[in-house]
Symmetry: C2
Subunit: 133 residues, 2 copies
DNA sequence: CTAGTTGCAAAGAGTTTGCATGGCG
DNA sequence: CGCCATGCAAACTCTTTGCAACTAG
């Protein structure tokens, strides 16, 4: 299954790398690109997003309040020893490097049989911004 | 805003307490009740679920793969000093009591400005069952 | 009797799919 | 030129809403 290097593909990829620390819904992406004069069809946006998620380039998540999927750049190789703090309120995904969490990870694994993926452990909670609101 | 004690209300509540450790989609609940001879309208199921979530009786969450809301009994008062391990794969919510996690909680708070709700901290990962698959 | 509740059907929102056209290699 | 990708619109799924009939208090 070869993959063609189309203009739309590059536009979308660039969008994510340019906004690596933000997260977007499919609709937001479509709108943002349209405003830059790069109009993509809805279907194309969804199909490309799906593939980016499969390829591990982008992360998909759903906040428990909202009912829409959000997408954020996964950082490619940069996310190997990161931990992620995911805000359940706004969906923001914070990248954190911290050795302390290694202990926690193995503790949960040993004591609770909850086998977290060491490379992708995610702690859910509420970020500062949402906390204030 | 008084609340009437209808048959449908009781049926739904009983369903959750009887299956406190499982999680269901709205459709699954509707079907399960119908098979017991307790047919509720879709709209009623959704409206009651929404209220149960507001009241904190039931927890709503969305797995990142699936796009549907799942609901699970929150255990009423029993969930005060619990931590929750949420499986992102199947949506299962495990209840865990453990002092160790207190440290972790405050560490994340102090060092990363990620203000988690002490009574509701949730760690996301993958549970044993899904791990094997 | 009054106000909350139910159930049906229709409306909405987000996402997916079918199919003809267009573009990469 | 062959095959994948695109775009439009229609189809789908899950969820919400409008409204008349119903029921608990």
């Amino acid at each position: 299954m070869p993959e063609y290097n189309t203009k739309q593909r590059e536009v979308l990829l660039k969008f994510f790398t340019d906004n690596a620390n933000e997260h977007f819904t499919a609709a937001e992406i479509e709108l943002a690109l349209a405003q830059k004069g790069e109009k993509l069809g809805k279907a194309t946006v969804y199909r490309r997003l799906e593939r980016l998620v499969e390829d591990g380039v982008v992360r998909r998540f759903v906040s428990d309040d909202a009912k829409v999927s959000c997408y954020q750049y996964a950082g490619g190789e940069a996310c190997k020893n990161h931990y992620h703090l995911k805000c359940l309120r706004c969906g923001e995904l914070l990248h954190v490097e911290c050795d302390y969490l290694d202990e926690m990870s193995s503790h949960v694994l040993e004591h609770h049989g909850f086998t977290v993926d060491t490379h992708k452990i995610t702690i859910c909670g509420v970020c500062e911004k949402c906390r204030e609101a």
